[in-house]
Amino acid sequence: GQDDGTQTIGVANFLLSGPYFSGMDKAIAAQAKKKGKIQIISTDANGDAAKLAANIEDLLSKNVDAIIISGGPLESAPAALNAIKQAGKPVVLVDRKFAVGEYTSWIGPDNKAIGVQDGQFLAKRLTDGGKVGIIKGGPADNSIGLARTEGLKSVLGTTQGITLVEAPDFGNWSSDGGLSVMESLLAQHGDLKAVFCENDAMCLGAQRAIADAGKAEQIVLAGVDGQNEALKAIQDGTNYVVTGLNDADQIGSMGLDRAVEILSGAKVEKDTVVPSPMVTKDNAAQYYDPNGTF
């Protein structure tokens, strides 16, 4: 802490260049501003694990009071966690829970549960059964996506009349990726009834491909995240019918709150699963905030 009681919190982003992650980063900063007397130093490793470690080292050498890690597609950073521990600083993980290593607290979604939830919605919706496409973000080591797809499969894989087709290539979590993967998928499976994407960005691209193919009436979409554009599409009653809220705004601000709590000496919950309510046309208005950061 500084003399005037201002506390400094470092944010280590693994990969800022995705709307979800920059939304998270902004939410943390916004919450800090709201609280006052908190200075945020944000860093970006641009997808390089060693750089994340380096950025954390830089933050520690600037003597921050606590560190928030938004690890994105990174599975873990045990050595960086060790360094933080050695420096005696608390570390809060947001969104991504690291598979190994010690951390103080984690706040994020239950990704499998979101997949299950989308699966249940689709199972109910597709009364006549049919083909459901799956678009994954990739790369193959991204356990967040794997958990979501696993959740979906755990429901639809056992539902009568439903067949699952997984796109062989990845949508890279982006809208353009979702678009081209969907196009390939449609060429082979024109009879799809629904598509699940591991996040909303890909679903938004997939929605375009479906519209271009003139199959908006036939195919519905299910996503994850609650990205603004997706919420709007759901609210507008398009064929984008469901998403599981995984709100970067919410998780980010909770993460900041958690760090401050820890610094104030409070005893906190180690793992906090942020509920991921199902968003459909009925309740989309409640979550859609045109001015939100994500």
Binding site: E183, S184, G205
Partner: protein, 312 residues
Amino acid sequence: MIAATPRLVLRGRDFTAEAISAAVVVLLVVVAATTSDTFLTPANLTNLLKQMVTTGLLAFGMLVVILTGGIDLSVGSVVAFTGILAAGLSAGLPIPVAMTVGVLAGIAFGLVNGALVARFGLAPFVVTLASLTTIRGLAFVYSEVPITPTDPAFLGLGSAMLGPVPLITLIMAVVFLAGGVFLSRTPAGRSIIAIGGNAETVRLAGINVRKHVILAYAISGACAGLAGVVLASRVGIAQPSVGVAFELDAIAACVIGGAALSGGRGSARATFGGVLVLVLINNLLNLYGVQSFWQQVLKGLIIIVVILVRRK
């Protein structure tokens, strides 16, 4: 040393590169058509037509730069910047104007790249590596979050069909046709090719080498700008993160098409063949349902095989 390979010469012009490209494309098409039920379906063919557009546009621009003996690594970042710029501006400007400004921004970046290469004699690889970084940063500075143009007309360009052919595919075809004429029939095009062979000779022939090198990068910037606008319109959402590593496919297309990275050798037609090869490989691997990472393994190997064949 001159490789002693048999060459295909017609009416005094060497079509070896084109012939090899065509042969590989035909081979892939035959394999695809006989082994996959889906390949020849209208839906899949339309897909192919759409999926070649981005790589195609970038590859033509890249070819022009490669002909001068240069390289443009910045195209992926330019795609991101121009797309998000056009999407952003479409809120206040008529959509054609916004899109034109996007393409102009691509040209502007190309002019800067070209000037740094031609005026200051810096290595193209490094100049465009640096601008790759800077322009990517600028795309995020312009907007960290994706921009979704509200006016549905923004989507028009990317989704319009002329009969069975997507408009954007036609645009790309026009770029290749006009570009082919530019390279083979205009003084500027011939000069660009000659510069890649021997810039000093061209300079002493009274041709402004700098101007033509700058022109080449501007063309690449224009193609990347067009690709950015087309992609944003196609997806309906402009993302600042789009386009990472796009340059690699564009370069691969040129090389598969027989262009020499040292400059002076390459044609629009054969490069278009290279684009087709890449798009067909991707399509085939998808149709066979090859897992993503095995796709990568195979794609690399196929590229090696193709350039080994070309070398023979």
